[in-house]
Symmetry: C5
């Protein structure tokens, strides 16, 4: 699982504007790929250097440059110069512990999102940054991923509106893919909750609390990744940047709705997990109660009887006086003892029955 | 019960604007029925194809087209073309995992609500979508239902304002029926709570926590279905669309009041369910306490007495010395033993009495 | 106690504007009484029919018509026609499960309040509706009550400002009486809390949790009755209706302050009740602990001793070998046994003392 | 301690504007004292009647009239007439169960505060009201107090800005003294919390929960006394009354900061008290656990051993057959018994060690 | 650890504007150091008296005067006079129990922050105040610290933008260092939480609750130190003071983002600590359950068996009648006894197996 609060200490004390990648190096080689398209044409290429993107800038076509791997800060520096990006923006892209945010600059929009992945009950996260310009979109990922492949396919196959629309629609399409993916994460968490519920109700084991605890942490992490989105998308929707066309706005409104829906689901999930803990704790209490009842029933019946047996095991000298344990010498003494025993046992049984313990 | 977070994964990765019905196919055949009326006339028909609705469009009468069953997406596509509905709207109607919402477009209003049903302690949900246009109302249901029948009867029998008013009033009347139905759901939940309260107080069983847990989940689900309504109806009330006449506004204000009242009731219900869990947990503690007291009283009295009996069951050789268990040879030894026994028992009884355990 | 969520189902499915009284018939006969006054004159009358109020309308005097009992809907229908009241308003008055609210119409203001009564630890509620017009005030109660009597006396005896002021001041005076009454309810609840506190601290009984639970429910109900008032009175204060004179506004501000004070008190009360439950639960734990300690002390001391006594009650043949229970044949064997017994007991006592259990 | 919700019932049913003092009569005699000063002169006097303040009104000097004791409502009535105070204001001053508030009238400002005192772990409260006019300040206290003495000394000794500034600065100075005093109350509560923490951690006694409960109540009361201040002071700061000079505003901003700081501290204190209860409850659980462990260890070891001793105390006739208790006649039977005993005891010890119980 | 609520009582009753240092004297000697720079030149000096700063005021260069130690109030008085600082500002700097705040005056901005340090699981705090003027920055610390050294190095080595920018950028750089340091504190707390988690899950000790309690207190303290920052920085960002250049604003926006991120992290941390306590409490319950189960299993098996052994240890006179304990004289009596014993034991074992206790 991701750490509670990620290590940011690497950056502390550095002058603002220093380019430091705080994440782990997840890929060996930075991979730069480009897709260049408009309604008529479609080109795709893997680039060796960021300089090769220069040719796209002069054209009217829409170019999507995707960078996988952020550890080579020199590449980002070059991009910064070439596309006139603010150094603080570059810094934000490199700092993979950002909150999701959308910042509107004069000639571009910075979009930072968290891409989540839920595998083997563990939540993996990757920061995806986008720079949306007039007719280009730069995307930055920490590692190679296949989440964007359906969008690539849509562009290639001219599916839907994507080829007819601008870079803003492309950015929306990618955000939509990431946000839609949150639904899958929530579904997985929902399934885990249902598994836990089943276990709590059918065969509670001791590690369930631990699992509930870590589930809570995952939900908290998810929450922190999604909550800032709501506000950000509102920003995008309300401000009237020339970079986002009116026709794309309705799609962003749709995206906003999805975000709200995800936040709703997260909140419900939280409440259910809390309730699940209560359920577990009280099923523990019920079991404890049952354990105690068994002990009490057995002990309550047999302890007095043991005393009785102990009494007739005493060695008072019966020869000395008729007062010393005359019962031992009655003809039916032993039978009377068993009669008494059953009487006591039956009495307690009735008492427990009345108390509804058995 | 409905799943915690419904499966949306079917849609992930699809281009926006793809028509996919994410729900279950609940009816065999899509059923299209139409009611066409104004103050003078009233017609009702079951249509074979959506094309047959064309004739209603030209008239001045109010036409209510109801579609039961959403799995045939081609029908919705046709409606979209015929009534000039935005593809995103069609998508919203097909995606039955929507939050309730009201969206205002240029020439129509989209209203999405959840129709709830509480049967056999389980909450069933169905999404109802409405498209309110100038003089038509399209309604979309997942399955055939009878909730709208009273409204149909009112139209047929010219009861109330309904025949004198426009499509906006019809939309209001249907929303009102759905919202009023929430009161019944809350009443049912209230009754279930009272049953649980009774059980907790009179004969708590082990499955009560489970029931309380699932009741909480139902309330959470209900909450998510109703909460967004408040905001949506405000939108409808505040914006001044030409589609909703001034005379209908006061009814919408009334609807808003009902929504607030439902939300109030849901919040109270939540608090009471939480309090109910506390009640259960503490009644568990009280029972545990009682069990422990019985054990303690019995054990505390008889364990020392058993020791005493054990002492006089020892086999020290009384012949060797006068120090070895002389009690065994006293004339009244055995009587003294019983006297001592009653003394100890009475002493403990007094102690427990003082402690208020018995 | 009032039901958790009152039955509204009677109204579901009815067209809006149907006059249905959803409450219980609490009085046999609807009673209509009128008070007509200005600075000079004062008349009071019990009317047989609502038509008799017609004469008051023409005069400049202030007339207060009070209707006790709402089950005869025809009377309200007549009032609606005579005073030009919106059908929805009449419906609101009849629906006694309204949230408190204030609605401002063109020529009248609708005020709906809850009148609360706390008798024998149970909270009784009655809906009071008022229609404040230019120079008349209509009040509607479910049953005859004596809460308004002091106001009647003030009018009769020309006490305070009331005879000099308009119908708006009269409405204020009645609202003030109702709101002031909430203080008494809160005081009663406060006293009940203090009783419960006393019991929890001095002699906790098993039914306390139940009492705390129902107290919580009462507070929740009270809260729902008062909370909407705050907002409503603000509405009355902020909007500038010609029906409420400027001189009356300062009194309404005062009323607002009282409402805030009541809400504050309710919130504190809630917190204290929650804390009270904690107090009860932990006093239960303390008692449990004590029970367990007594058991543990007795059992821990006597179980090992019983074992010891058991050992010397064994029947190993001492004649066979010197290894078989030679203790039994020592001269001071029995004395040594008791010495050992006291040693063990004293040792455990010291251990418990160190643990601060005794 | 102050009652949970103070008795307001005395006032219920009275016409608004009735002068009733709802508090207790705390002083025998109402004491009226006056301080009259400007930059040059300083006069102080104890007055017999409120009429004597008349002479101050004509002068340009600043006059501070302090009234200790509110039970003589006629004095307040006179003040009301002389200084043209609204009857509702007089009523607010007499009603000592007011929330703190600041109300701005045309020619004066009403300031109502709670003066708190924390003595012997109990919170005492007194309502202080001020009427700030053009060049006068009227202050009303329930009882004589010495909290204002430092301000009196400052005026007398011409310390600080006070003699150079107007009545508004004087009002500020008094409010500042009252608000500063809250810090002392919070410090006392903080110390009580630390005492309780110490006790919980070192030697938890059974009355701690009770103490925590009453501490919570005190904090709730404190909260209700301070919270409304924030809003009120904002009112004073935002509205631009001619009664508060611009030079005084920065001091009021400072006062506002103090209020925020106190509210912060109260919230933290609440959270810590809640956490303290958790701490207590879990330290109780830990003790319980320990008690149970001791019982379990002792019982688990000795109950099986007692059974073993019991076995060899049975009286099966060894003479009849070689199968009947041959162990009793073995040469080393008794030694073997002890060997077995130590084996069983050691086995359990190892088991407990493994379980980390000992 | 810092006290819950710091002692402010020293200041109570003083006239506003009195210069009192409420903190501890942490350094022996007040140390005044100055750095004077612009793009071309760089000077650094340790000053003996505040008068020596006079020369910097006339120049166009940026001068940063740092004062370590606040106990000599005369120095601050001099600064106040020389730089025309409001007395209330000086007071705020001396009162080291301030909430963080930013106040904008005509010719300077006051910035008060908390510098936090987390050493040996204890949170140390120091108040840092800054006065940002046209071309000067005054900083006040309670003690000498090395947190600002990296900034000094950056100035000296002309690293980054710092030498090219004004005093506003310098103030930003220092605030950035302090805020960045919060990340380290949160990381440390996060590590402590993970340690505690580990301990709770692997070997829970009794002092963990105490540790969790004090961790909560630290987080509460941290929260109070950071929360007000958010609002303050917004103030700085929104108001358009001539003291903060437009080029610096984007950096302040960045700082704001960091603050939000820290607050997010604190909130998550709080939730996790609460969940951690639940985890601890339920792991306690699980252990308790286990303890009880062991006791119950052993006692339930052996108490009935002990009774059985006790029965055959009774001394009924077998000679008197054939009814008196004939079992003792059966040839296989003893073997049958053991058979019965194993039967009972096995029966209970099966029962426990079915109950899933073993």
């Amino acid at each position: 699982m991701k750490k509670l609060n990620e290590k940011r200490s690497a950056k502390v004390g550095m002058p603002p504007g220093s380019y430091v990648y705080v994440g782990q190096k997840r890929v060996e080689q930075v991979k730069i790929s480009a897709i260049d398209y408009d309604q008529q044409q479609f080109n795709t290429a893997v680039l060796n250097s960021i300089d090769e993107t220069e040719i796209y800038r002069s054209r009217e076509t829409i170019s999507w440059i995707n960078i996988d791997g952020l550890h080579d800060t020199s590449i980002l520096e070059k991009i910064g110069l070439q596309y006139e990006i603010n150094p603080l923006t570059i810094e934000d892209i490199l700092n993979t512990h950002q909150r999701p945010k959308i910042e509107i600059f004069d000639h571009y929009i910075l979009i930072i999102l968290k891409m989540l992945n839920y595998k083997n009950n563990s939540l993996q996260t990757e920061q995806v940054s986008m720079i949306l310009g007039k007719n280009f979109l730069l995307t930055f990922q920490e590692t190679e991923g296949d989440l964007f492949d359906p969008v690539r396919a849509r562009i290639k196959n001219s599916m839907g509106r994507i080829r007819k629309s601008g870079a803003d629609y492309l950015a929306y399409a990618l955000m939509d893919v990431i946000v839609d993916n949150y639904f899958i994460v929530i579904e997985s968490i929902g399934e885990e909750i249902e598994n836990l519920e089943d276990k709590v109700l059918k065969k509670p084991t001791d590690d369930l609390v631990e699992k509930i605890h870590f589930l809570k942490r995952k939900i908290l992490y998810l929450r922190r990744s999604v909550y800032p989105l709501r506000e950000s998308i509102t920003t995008l929707q309300q401000s009237q940047p020339n970079l986002v066309k009116k026709s794309t706005r309705q799609y962003i409104r749709d995206l906003y709705e999805h975000t709200i829906q995800i936040i709703d689901a997260i909140e419900s999930t939280r409440d259910i997990v809390t309730s699940l803990l209560d359920l577990y704790m009280s099923s523990m209490s019920i079991k404890m109660n049952e354990v105690m009842k068994v002990l009490t029933i057995i002990a309550t019946i047999f302890i007095p009887l043991s005393f009785l047996a102990g009494v007739y095991g005493m060695n008072f000298d019966t020869g000395i006086s008729p007062f010393n344990m005359p019962e031992l010498e009655y003809r039916y003494g032993y039978l009377l003892f068993w009669f008494l025993t059953f009487l006591v046992a039956a009495g307690f049984m009735l008492f427990f029955k009345k108390k509804k313990w058995i």
